[in-house]
Structure formats: structure tokens, C-alpha cells
């Protein structure tokens, strides 16, 4: 079913009786060419691109709960490609370009809104680091502007310019960055994949891999055994748990990342602002809620809930940057479980088991990567070769000393 304003008008007059499910609810078939484990953003995107761009058939996505219930539905909706290192920047810029055409591609309005992502700096070294980063972005075909404090004040006059512990000196702006209605990304990819024949199977938890002679030939699930020629895993947050079923130990820790939404407020913030002197970033949703977050809680966790120290830390950052938000109230807070990798960058690679592919380690930045992650993973699964923008995301980079460490923090995930 194709969506349009015209269609809405027709349905409105018919009492909305004609709308069909956005995706089907098929029973699992005995086997598939390709199984994607994980009905989150990345898994659904992978299925969509496999079917639409790589001409693959007989594809299933297996989801243990309801689709979009993981991090694609629990993030702060930001998209951007403002990375420092080439191993990352090319990939995220590819992702941003895919975002720019997403809605027409999947026929679903995910409200991709390029309202600008601004990272503030508060010292000379920070400014210089942003200059290096902005230049790296431009070298990779992205857009970047280095603003001084006056230019920032013009954009956001209510920020704390006059009584700040760490005065704002300027910012690195990526005008093409922005936000996307996160749930709609999962639904949109599901809708498009489903239309191309992909079976999206909810409430189907994978309980084991069937591996024979070094080759993965299927998966055990709560809905029975399902055979497959190739199996791709895209379950970030639970990667260690799932890959342990294939006997693998990963360079990952699971951590909880909290996010917050305020009560609805009349428009205040147009784009995305990231504080450079505290753990705080914020945007405002189309419904009016301030959507904000900060640092991860800092200890390994599989609980989708966080604790007070980080909530306080985030709000302190918020108040010190935007002293007018004191009376905005936090309406909801939640925690998402993220795969924190050992260098802060993701992994998209084959495994030592033939036919088993892995996609994970997205840290707190998986949402913006969704389209490129799906595309690159589909490319890898189809061709057995990494996509040109994802060549650095290899599993063996740690053993070889080829880390992609944006923050320079080393092998301690909670510092990335």
C-alpha cells in the first residue's frame, strides 16, 4: 500500500477502513537464503537493502520482541556525520546521504530534518581539535563550519554566554546534521522490506546457531528451527550474549545510556546543540519535548534503566549551558543498552564461521548509522567483501593495532 496525502484524504472519507498493516505478520518458513537476527533499525535496514539494492530473495528478519523496540526506539534521534577519523567519517557521511533520500526510498515519512548539529567549544585546544575534525569532514565530502562565539550567539541567544564557568568560544556546525523520528525509521524500513517480500517475524527469539563443519546453516528459535544459507547478526546491546551462542568472545561491553524527554514546550531550540564543557546535548522534537542526554552510566549493564548520578550530571550540564531550562520538567527517562566497543567504533565483518556475519559495537552512535550500517552489512553479506566505506570496521583491527579511536581513550569502553 502506497502512502500519500491523496490516500489519506480518501481514507479519511471512508472512515480509515482501508488501511492495511504496515508490515505483514508471516509465519516463519522452514528456511531462507538470508536470516537477519535483530528487528531493530540496523537489521531492518539490512533486509531492505538486501532486497532492494542487492537483489537478494528469501530473506527473514527475526526479532525476539516487537520490531524497533531496541535502540532505534530508545535514542535521541540525532543524525550527523561529524567524525574526526577517516575510518569513520566516510561511513557516516555515506549514512547521512542515505538519510537524505530515505523517505522517498521507503515511502514512509520518518521526518528527516536537517536543522543543523552544533558542537560547542570552550577552549583553544578544543577549537583546534574541531578545526582538524571539520577539515576531515570536508575531505570526506561532508559539510562543516567553524563558528565563533558571536555566530553561536546569533543562532542561540539564550545560551549561557555571560555567566559561564567555561565560556562558549564558538562551535563546529554541520548544517546537514539533524534529527529523525526514530520509531518511524524502523517502521519505514519494515514497510519497505515487507513490500519486497522480506518476512519480518516478531516474537521469535534466536536461542542457538546450528554450526556444522565451521559453517552456520541455521538458527534455533523459540518458534522452531529455521535453516539459512547466510546469517547476519545485528543485535547491538546484546551482541556478546548472542555471539556467545556461536562460541565467540567480542571486544565489547554492554553499557546503559540514558536519555530524557521534557514536557512539551513551545519551540525553543531549532537544531541540535552539544555542550563541549559538560555531558549534555539537546534538541527539540516536533511535538515540543526537549530531547536530551549525556554520558553513559559507566558500568556494564543489561538493565534498560540508569541511575541518579548521570541524571544529575546531565541536568547540571544542561543548566550551565541553558540556564533558562530550570523549570522545564523531565517527563520520561529511559535507558538503552549499547555495545561499547574497545575503541569506540563499530564492527561490520565476517566471522571465522562461514556464513555468519556480525554487525555491532555501535556504542552510543548507532542510530545515525542505521542506513549505512544496513547498506554496508547487506553489501558484506551479498559479496563477502566489506563495503568501501566500512573497510576499517574489521574484527581483527585490535589484534593488528588499527584501532579507530576518536576520543583517544584506549581500551576502556566507558571512556569513549
Amino acid at each position: 500500500m502506497r502512502y500519500s496525502a491523496f490516500r489519506i484524504a480518501i481514507e479519511a472519507l471512508k472512515g480509515h477502513k482501508g488501511w492495511k498493516p504496515v508490515w505483514r505478520k508471516p509465519e516463519p518458513k522452514p528456511d531462507y537464503d538470508i536470516i537477519i537476527i535483530g528487528g531493530g533499525g540496523h537489521g531492518l535496514a539490512t533486509a531492505h537493502y538486501l532486497a532492494s539494492k542487492f537483489n537478494q530473495k528469501r530473506i527473514a528478519v527475526l526479532e525476539k520482541g516487537w520490531i524497533g523496540g531496541g535502540n532505534v526506539g530508545r535514542n535521541t534521534t540525532i543524525i550527523r556525520s561529524n567524525y574526526l577519523l577517516h575510518g569513520n567519517e566516510g561511513f557516516y557521511e555515506f549514512s547521512l546521504k542515505l538519510w537524505e533520500g530515505l523517505e522517498q526510498d521507503v515511502n514512509y515519512n520518518a521526518m528527516v530534518s536537517q536543522r543543523g548539529v552544533l558542537n560547542l567549544y570552550h577552549s583553544d585546544p578544543q577549537r583546534d581539535a574541531y578545526a582538524r575534525r571539520g577539515n576531515a569532514m570536508i575531505l570526506n565530502g561532508a559539510d562543516a563550519k567553524l563558528l565563533d562565539s558571536a555566530a553561536v550567539r546569533k543562532m542561540y541567544p539564550f545560551l549561557n554566554f555571560d555567566d559561564a564557568r567555561f565560556p562558549i568560544q564558538g562551535g563546529l556546525l554541520q548544517p546537514r546534521g539533524g534529527t529523525v523520528r526514530h520509531d518511524a525509521v524502523a517502521w519505514g524500513y519494515a514497510h519497505a522490506a515487507d513490500k519486497n517480500g522480506v518476512d519480518i517475524i516478531e516474537n521469535c527469539e534466536v536461542t542457538g546457531f546450528k554450526i556444522e563443519q565451521g559453517r552456520c546453516i541455521g538458527v534455533e528459535t523459540t518458534r522452531g528451527y529455521i535453516g539459512a544459507t547466510k546469517v547476519g547478526v545485528a543485535v547491538a546491546g546484546n551482541s556478546s550474549r548472542v555471539m556467545a551462542m556461536a562460541g565467540m568472545q567480542l571486544p565489547l561491553e554492554s553499557h546503559v545510556l540514558q536519555a530524557f524527554v521534557s514536557e512539551g514546550l513551545k519551540p525553543l531550540i531549532d537544531g541540535v546543540i552539544t555542550y563541549g564543557a559538560g555531558h549534555f546535548y539537546v534538541s527539540q522534537s516536533d511535538k515540543g519535548g526537549l530531547v536530551f542526554g549525556g554520558d553513559i552510566d559507566g558500568y556494564n549493564s543489561y538493565a534498560q534503566r540508569g541511575n541518579l548520578p548521570v541524571i544529575e550530571d546531565v541536568c547540571e550540564g544542561g543548566m550551565s549551558l541553558m540556564p533558562n531550562i530550570g523549570k522545564a520538567r523531565i517527563l520520561r527517562m529511559w535507558g538503552g543498552i549499547v555495545d561499547m566497543s574497545m575503541d569506540g567504533s563499530p564492527i561490520i565483518d565476517k566471522t571465522h564461521i562461514e556464513g555468519l556475519y556480525f554487525n555491532g559495537g555501535w556504542c552510543y552512535g548507532g542510530f545515525k548509522a542505521t542506513p549505512a550500517s544496513g547498506y554496508a552489512f547487506a553489501h558484506l553479506i551479498t559479496t563477502d567483501m566489506p563495503h568501501k566505506t566500512a573497510q576499517a570496521y574489521r574484527m581483527d583491527r585490535f589484534a593488528r593495532g588499527l584501532m579507530i579511536d576518536e576520543k583517544g581513550q584506549g581500551a576502556q569502553p566507558n571512556l569513549h
Binding site: G65, E103, R132, L139, G318, S320
Partner: protein
């Protein structure tokens, strides 16, 4: 007997109109008493909205209070304690609340069904951001937030108790009495400004007297029990791991009141008793959102507690509890009656029944049964379970951890007698004697599940967000059948009331649509906060200048007196430069400081460098483990430069370490890494080498330390150091250190180190003498034109000398890349050594630090530029490295730079383009040695 003090009238305004109420009123009760019906507009359709509830569950009556920079949006009128002079405004309308232009949305509602926006606004592509979204955003949100800083103050506090009792209704009060009399440490909290809970709002007797009398006596006794603490107007908004309860106390809503507006309490409780009561729920039927449609319990609250008779009321109930409401018409669902429509666009005028009968009414009181307030049990990970008899979710004793008990209505015990009985039971379980049960009503609730009157018109489930039963059914039709999908697709339960009145009804409507039971359909899980909490309260006093601590150096006062400009270096404020009369800008000052230092002598406060005392028989052996080079062989009275790696082989920090005795080393770290290095050393000491005799303590704040650099450094020091000590070049050569006295006996340490490349020392005295020492040195230095220099000049001189600093030790560089590969001892293992030899870190193509000069004299270099080989296009594939430090060298009269270049050590004299797009500065640069000044190091040894 109401709780209103009619002798104490209070004036307030609503939408600019003057009204009055009484002490004891909420804004909502005062508005009702004044006959105000429309108090706001709904989110999506901008329908008129009246007051629906009497407490935290209120979805409709959201107002802005105060104006200007103290304006507070989205306050529930039902929870604002009325005070003299309150100004309140309705919100979310264009025009007035009575004539809202955006009510056009209500007429267009067929086109605005759930999720309509996901299906349109996609063509033409550019229109979403240019046209559609701006219109949507314009209409978004509810109240307005001030654009100026919040002037109010927020405080925080920490409480500890054995028992935290949440809710001071009948069960909470009785439990507090039992535990308090037994001498237990008890904290009793209630979100209301009067304790008593439902007793205040009902009119049943307790011990043959008015319920309020019993409450008053109970409170009198509790206030006098020494181990009991009462916290009024305090909401437990969240439960966190290991018995930490978040409480928000509102002290005042008045402007300009002294002290904090709110206090955020962190309460550590060994056990919590949840006595949070229950929330009545509405029933979905056509136009049930009209102003005048209220919860039956709220109608009783307004009557009994606030003394307001809402005349001409029709009651719709499915249970006995609702029957307590005085009404002109009773429509009992259990007898097969229900309402099919509500008439009156701006307020109820009549209701239509399923019998076709039309009844005149100004108010409709609905009781659809009660939902126990199980929220905080969910915060503790318990999943509520469905109770068919009570027709509600109740806490599940099996999944709730043993440090929380639930009693009273929160548990599904809906009679007052039952609440008292629960209280006594839990008190006994907690090891206390109990008082005899007060005599009171014990009515069964006798509820018949009933959720939704089916029909063609819209029936509201979520009043604030305008989610109707039809929306939920449409969501299901489109495949959004998981509760979580329904919530996300329709926005059910996402409003500021967090679904307190809508979640269970919505679930029931979904269950009907899917032909399943409610438990088959799902549960509703609640996450913190229980009610919304201001960001300001979480931040407390940590804002503005108090966001983070400020650390001051011992010479801070002296520097302030001498025109220093300060710079934030972590938490430290350091002097960046010292301006003098006639200097046109910072560059003049910095150039002068560099030139004067290189010419004569300059002094810089380097106290901020981390200092760590490393003592013990195994101290040398220990340092061998953490530094790449060897320290066990360092002679007493000598210093050595040390480089430390992380275990992954990347440079972590550097500094010098001096040996004061066989068992005593003094390590210095960079300013930024003082904390992390100390932690790293403690890790090595306790977790890797726990049998070594080595002891660590930070002495950063203990010693005031100054660097004295320049050809006259020794001459100046000889005037400071007491004459017993020989600091001539022979007696005290480069890299010497020692303990001595200065200025007539003051204990000091002297290190002969140089970061600038000049003859230089670092001298330290106990910090109590820091201020005096800098004054003394500057005064003694007058004859040499001694100057103080700041961090900028320090930076210039270290770049001139080619020393790597924070910009170079950026967490991705190896010893080799920094040109320090030679320091790595081949004879011993150290942390990071093995992994530093991985192929990716030692390949020919890996980055090396080199120096850069502009090809064209006078060209400006910029930090953060990338290097592209001449003739190649500027794109990622051709990137050769980046500039990490840049300075104008007054010594060489040119810009100089340090940076990292692929295979840098083999590219000397190559010319590259340094491209800086973001600063629009592209220049040609030549690769040179990073040591610009005195490469042989002769000056520092004189």
C-alpha cells in the same frame, strides 16, 4: 468539614482576570469555585478542556504560572497550592482559551488520524523541512519557557532511614504511627500539601468521628515522635538501585521567597512501604472530554475537602465506590446503562444515554474503577499483574524485591478498613507492635469491568494528547498491536500526565480490538519519574560559575594584581598572559614574555602539574613497570624524563620524576592527566603488583611550584636559595634535584628541569609560602627584569623547543610517533610495551611528529590543518596528516608548527599543502625537525 480556611481569602488572576480563593485551596479548586470551566486546550485538536481530576493525575488543567523569567509552564492546576498574588494563564491556544483559532484542527480531524504524518509530507522532497515541518513545529508544545535564566534556587539533600513510607493516607499514616512508636527511623512523605490522602476527600467516619479528626490526631502524634520525619509536598519520583529513592520537595511556588524553591532529596532507605493510593480512571465514550466531565473521586474531593458543590452532576459509574458521589442522575453501568454522548461544546450541558434519554447536567462524574499506583514497584523491576476481580493491575509480590512492601489502595485494598489492616500487617512483619485498628468503613468495591462505549464519534482515552479509542483501533488495524507500538504510534500515555488516567483504558480498548484479555494484550510498565521533575532541581546549585569547582594556583592573587588574563585548564584557572601598558593585544604580551624569558629570566606557576609521592623499598622497581624507561637506576639527587604508556601501547602521559632518597621518588604528571595517572598507578600497585612495597600519595596541592627559566635563572635563584646550598652548574647540573631551604630557612625542593630549552629550574615550597615566594622572587628579580609568563608563552617556548604536549599526547600516538621510541627500554617489560609492537602501530606509514615552517615567510599556520602532498587533490584518500600545535615564534619571527605526518621521519624538506577549509587558510609548508630552537640542547646545560 472542609480544609478550607474561609477567613483567609487569597487573590489570584487567571488569564488576566482577578479571582479569589481561600487558604487551603489548590488553583484548580479556586477556579472551580469561581466558576471557570475552560482552563486550557488539548494538544492536537485544540478542544476546550476543563479540570478533570484533583491531583497528580490531572491531564487537562495545565497552566503557566508567573510571567517573564520566572514563568513556569505546564503546571497542573490541581497540585498548585493557592497563594496570594498567584498569576496563572491557560496555554496552548492561538487567540484566547475560549476562541482558539487552532480549533480548526478539530474540524479537520478525519484527516489527522493516528500516525497520519508518517504517510504524507514526503513530496516534493524539500517541502518537509521548508514548509510542512515549520508549520507542525509552530503548533507544537504546550506552555512557553522563559528565555532568560531561571532565577530560582534549588537545593539537594541526603537522607537515611530504616523505613521510608510513601504516601500519608490511612495506610501510610497508621504504619508511620506503628513504626514511630516502636522507635524506628521513619520518613513519611506525601506529595500533597496536607497529609491524609483520600480521608481528606471522603466523608466517612473513623472511630465514630470525622476522618479529618483522626488524621489531625495522628499527625500531632507523629510530629512529636523523635524518630519520625514528615516531608510534605514531597514526591518520590523514582526508585533507583539498592534502595535509593529520589524525592522532590516543593518548598514554595512563590516568587522571591527566600531559600530554595525545591529540594531534591536522595533518600537511602533499608525498606520502603508503598502506600501511594490509587488513581481513578475514566471511561471512553463520545465527547467524554468536554469541560465538566470529571473523575467522580475529584468531584468528591472538591466537595468534601474544598467545600465546593458542583451542582447538577450526572454520575456514570461501574463500581460501588463511585456511588459515594452525590449526583442528580446516577447512571450505573452495572444496570446496563451508560452514556453515549456528551453535549455542549464549551462545557457539558447534557448527556445522552444508551436508552436514548437526554439528561440535563453541568458536570459528569465518571468512575471507571481504580488503578493502584504501582509505579514505584515498576521502578524496582516488578511487573504488575492483572486482578480480574478488582479489574486492575496490582503489584506482584513475586517479582517485587523484599525491601519494598505495598499496602492499602496501592495494593488493591480499596476500603479504608482494609488499608488500616494492611498497615498493621506490614508493621507486624517489620517487627513492630500495632495499635488497635481504627473503626471505619469496609465497603467492597464491586466493580464491573467497563471501558469503552463503542460508537462512531470520538471517545477520548488520552485527554491531553487527543488519543481516541478509534486511534487505538486504527493502530491495531495497521499492525501496531504490541502495546509499545500502540503507544508510540498514537502517542497514548506520552503526555505530561504520563498515562495515569489513560494507559489502562487504552490497553483495554486494544484488548477489545484484538479479542484478547487484558493480561494477554500486555501490561503497562512505568518508568521514572512518577511525576515530571524540573531540570533545575536535578542540577541543584551546579550552574553558572558553580557548574564545576574552580582550582586556584598559589600565585593566583599575585597574578590577578598583575593584569593576568586567566584560562581554564581543566578545573584550574591559570595565568594565560600578563598584559602591560601599551601592549595592543595578547600577542604583544606573549611575545614579550617569550623574548624576556629567553633573554633574561621568566617565572611561571607550574603548581598545576600533578605531583605524586612514590615511596617504598620497591618504588624504583614499580616505576620501571609504569614507565617505558628505567628508574630503578636513577641516582639520588637526579631527575629523569619518563614516558608512560597505556596497556594498549599508546602514550598516556609524560613528566619528570626525581629521586629524593633510596625509597623516595617524586613524580610529576601533566596537568590534565594528574587524576588519571594517579588512578592508573594505584591500579598497578593494588591490582598488578600488590606485594611490592610502594606507597602513593598526591602532593599536587601541597607544594607551590614555579618554573624559573632564562639565562639569568640561576642568578635569580642564588638570591632566593639560602647560601648553605651550592647551586652552581657544577654542584647542581642539568637534571639535578635536591631538598634545601630558601629565604632564610623555608623548606624547599629544587629541580633543574627545562621545558623551554633555557637554563631552567623548578622550585617548590609548601603551598602556605607560595604567595610569599612569588612576591619575593619577583622583587629579587627586578634587577634582571624578571617577568612572569603565562601558559601561552609556555606553549610557544615548548613548541620552539619541539616538546610534545597535550595536543600531541592525544591518546592515539605511540612513543615512536612522538619521536620518543628511543626511550623504551629493551631490557624490561613495562605496561604497554607488548601491544605497542602491533603492526598497525609500527608500520612505515604510521604517523610521526615533525616540525613545519611556512614556505612563504609570513604565511600563517593554523592548528587542525591537514597535509596534502603537492599536486594531489584534497580528499580523504590523500590525507597525509594534521597540524597539532602552532605558534608564532618571536624568537625566529615566523609561524612554526608541530604535526603528525605519515612516514614523517623520512620526509624532511618535503613541501606539502596545509589545507584548512574551516578557517579558509591553505598554505604551503616545509617539513623540518621539530626542534626549532637550540636543537642540541646547549642552553639548558650552561
Amino acid at each position: 468539614m472542609s480544609l478550607i480556611d474561609i477567613n483567609n481569602p487569597l487573590n489570584f488572576t487567571f488569564d488576566g482576570k482577578a479571582h479569589s480563593g481561600f487558604e487551603g485551596d489548590t488553583l484548580a479548586s479556586a477556579l472551580l469555585r469561581s466558576g471557570v470551566r475552560i482552563v486550557g486546550r488539548s494538544f492536537k485538536y485544540h478542544r476546550p478542556r476543563g479540570i478533570m481530576g484533583a491531583g497528580a493525575e490531572e491531564p487537562n488543567a495545565l497552566v503557566e504560572i508567573h510571567e517573564g523569567n520566572v514563568c513556569e509552564p505546564n503546571r497542573r492546576a490541581t497540585t498548585i497550592k493557592l497563594f496570594e498574588g498567584l498569576t496563572a494563564k491557560s496555554q496552548n491556544h492561538m487567540g484566547s482559551v475560549n476562541f482558539d483559532f487552532l480549533a480548526i484542527n478539530d474540524i479537520l480531524h478525519p484527516f489527522l488520524a493516528a500516525g497520519f504524518y508518517y504517510k504524507t509530507f514526503m513530496w516534493p522532497k524539500a517541502f518537509w523541512e521548508k514548509l510542512y515541518e515549520p508549520i507542525i513545529r509552530c503548533a507544537a508544545g504546550l506552555g512557553k519557557l522563559a528565555l532568560t535564566p531561571d532565577p530560582d534556587s534549588y537545593d539537594k539533600g541526603f537522607l537515611h532511614c530504616e523505613f521510608l513510607i510513601i504516601g500519608a493516607g490511612p495506610s501510610g499514616l497508621l504504619t508511620a504511627l506503628n513504626l514511630g512508636r516502636a522507635g524506628k527511623q521513619v520518613i513519611l512523605v506525601d506529595e500533597d500539601f496536607h497529609m491524609g490522602g483520600r480521608i481528606l476527600s471522603e466523608n466517612y467516619e473513623i472511630n465514630s468521628d470525622g476522618g479529618i479528626k483522626w488524621v489531625t490526631e495522628a499527625l500531632n502524634e507523629l510530629e512529636n515522635l523523635p524518630t519520625v520525619r514528615l516531608l510534605l509536598r514531597t514526591t518520590i519520583y523514582g526508585v533507583f538501585d539498592h534502595g535509593i529513592y529520589g524525592g522532590l520537595e516543593t518548598r514554595t511556588d512563590k516568587i522571591g521567597a527566600p531559600g530554595p524553591r525545591q529540594i531534591l532529596w536522595k533518600i537511602n532507605a533499608k525498606h520502603a512501604v508503598l502506600a501511594a493510593g490509587a488513581t481513578e480512571r475514566p471511561i471512553a465514550f463520545a465527547n467524554n472530554d468536554r469541560p465538566g466531565v470529571m473523575l467522580a473521586s475529584a468531584v468528591r474531593s472538591y466537595k468534601n475537602r474544598f467545600g465546593i458543590d458542583l451542582k447538577n452532576t450526572a454520575l456514570l459509574t461501574n463500581n460501588d465506590n463511585g456511588m459515594l458521589t452525590e449526583a442528580n442522575h446516577i447512571i450505573d453501568i452495572r444496570n446496563g446503562h451508560h452514556i453515549t454522548d456528551v453535549n455542549g461544546r464549551k462545557g457539558v450541558t447534557s448527556v445522552t444515554l444508551n436508552t436514548g434519554e437526554k439528561l440535563k447536567a453541568d458536570y459528569v462524574a465518571i468512575s471507571g474503577g481504580w488503578n493502584p499506583n504501582v509505579h514505584l514497584t515498576c521502578h524496582k523491576r516488578a511487573r504488575p499483574i492483572w486482578n480480574d476481580t478488582l479489574s486492575c493491575f496490582v503489584p506482584d509480590g513475586n517479582t517485587l524485591s523484599s525491601d519494598m512492601s505495598v499496602i492499602g489502595a496501592a495494593k488493591g485494598t480499596f476500603s479504608t478498613h482494609g488499608a488500616f489492616r494492611d498497615a498493621n500487617k506490614v508493621s507486624e512483619k517489620l517487627g513492630c507492635k500495632t495499635i488497635p485498628l481504627p473503626k471505619t468503613e469496609d465497603r467492597p468495591i464491586d466493580v464491573k469491568a467497563f471501558w469503552h462505549v463503542k460508537g462512531t464519534k470520538r471517545a477520548w482515552v488520552d485527554f491531553q494528547n487527543d488519543v481516541t479509542a478509534k486511534d487505538i483501533i486504527l493502530a491495531h488495524q495497521e499492525g501496531f498491536s504490541s502495546v509499545e507500538h500502540v503507544k508510540r504510534y498514537t502517542t497514548l500515555g506520552m503526555a505530561t500526565d504520563q498515562g495515569k488516567t489513560s494507559n489502562v483504558v487504552g490497553l483495554a480498548v486494544l484488548a477489545e480490538a484484538t479479542n484478547q484479555t487484558i493480561p494477554q494484550t500486555g501490561t503497562t510498565i512505568f518508568r521514572p519519574p512518577y511525576t515530571p521533575v524540573p531540570i533545575g532541581a536535578f542540577a541543584g546549585s551546579h550552574r553558572g560559575q558553580h557548574f564545576k569547582q574552580i582550582r586556584l594556583t598559589p600565585s593566583h592573587k599575585y597574578a590577578s594584581e598583575n593584569n593576568a588574563t586567566f584560562v581554564e585548564t581543566g578545573y584550574w584557572k591559570r595565568a594565560q598572559w600578563f598584559s602591560r601598558a601599551g601592549e595592543q593585544g595578547w600577542r604583544d604580551s606573549v611575545d614579550r614574555e617569550v623574548i624576556m624569558t629567553r633573554k633574561s629570566v621568566g617565572i611561571c606557576d607550574v603548581t598545576t602539574l600533578g605531583k605524586i609521592d612514590v615511596q617504598g623499598r620497591d618504588a624504583g622497581k614499580f616505576l620501571n613497570k609504569v614507565y617505558v624507561n628505567t628508574f630503578s637506576t636513577l641516582k639520588v639527587g637526579k631527575c629523569r624524563y619518563g614516558l608512560m604508556l597505556r596497556e594498549d601501547g599508546i602514550a598516556m602521559d609524560d613528566g619528570t620524576t626525581a629521586r629524593l632518597s633510596d625509597t623516595h621518588f617524586v613524580m610529576t604528571t601533566t596537568t590534565a592527566k594528574a587524576g588519571p595517572v594517579f588512578k592508573h598507578l594505584e591500579f598497578a600497585r593494588q591490582c598488578l603488583y600488590p606485594n611490592m612495597d610502594v606507597h602513593l600519595i598526591s602532593t599536587t596541592d601541597q607544594w607551590a611550584q614555579f618554573s624559573i627559566a632564562g639565562p639569568n635563572a640561576r642568578k635569580l635563584l642564588q638570591k632566593i636559595v639560602d647560601p648553605d646550598f651550592d647551586i652552581s652548574n657544577e654542584a647542581f647540573p642539568y637534571m639535578a634535584c635536591g631538598e634545601l631551604t630558601v629565604c632564610g630557612g623555608t623548606r624547599a625542593r629544587l629541580f633543574r628541569l627545562s621545558f623551554s630549552g633555557e637554563l631552567a629550574y623548578e622550585i617548590s615550597v609548601p603551598a602556605r609560602y607560595g604567595d610569599a615566594l612569588i612576591r619575593e622572587m619577583m622583587s629579587q628579580g627586578e634587577e634582571f627584569d624578571a617577568i612572569m609568563y603565562g601558559t601561552e608563552a609556555l606553549g610557544v617556548m615548548r613548541i620552539e623547543k619541539g616538546h610534545a604536549a597535550g595536543n600531541e599526547l592525544n591518546g592515539t600516538t605511540t612513543a615512536t610517533a612522538l619521536g620518543l621510541g628511543g626511550f623504551v627500554s629493551k631490557k624490561k617489560d613495562c605496561i604497554g610495551k607488548v601491544l605497542s609492537r602491533r603492526e598497525g602501530l609500527i608500520s612505515d606509514d604510521s604517523m610521526t611528529m615533525v616540525g613545519f615552517l611556512p614556505v612563504k615567510q609570513g604565511d600563517k599556520l593554523t592548528n587542525g590543518a591537514h597535509f596534502i602532498s603537492k599536486g594531489e587533490t584534497a580528499k580523504a584518500l590523500n590525507d597525509q596528516g594534521y597540524m597539532s600545535s602552532v605558534a608564532w615564534s618571536p624568537t625566529l619571527e615566523t609561524y612554526i608548527g608541530l604535526g603528525f605526518l605519515k612516514n614523517g621521519k623520512n620526509r624532511k624538506d618535503e613541501v606539502l599543502s596545509a589545507v584548512d577549509f574551516v578557517r579558509h587558510n591553505h598554505v604551503d609548508v616545509k617539513v623540518v625537525s621539530p626542534h626549532f630552537v637550540d636543537p642540541k640542547g646547549e642552553r639548558l646545560r650552561v
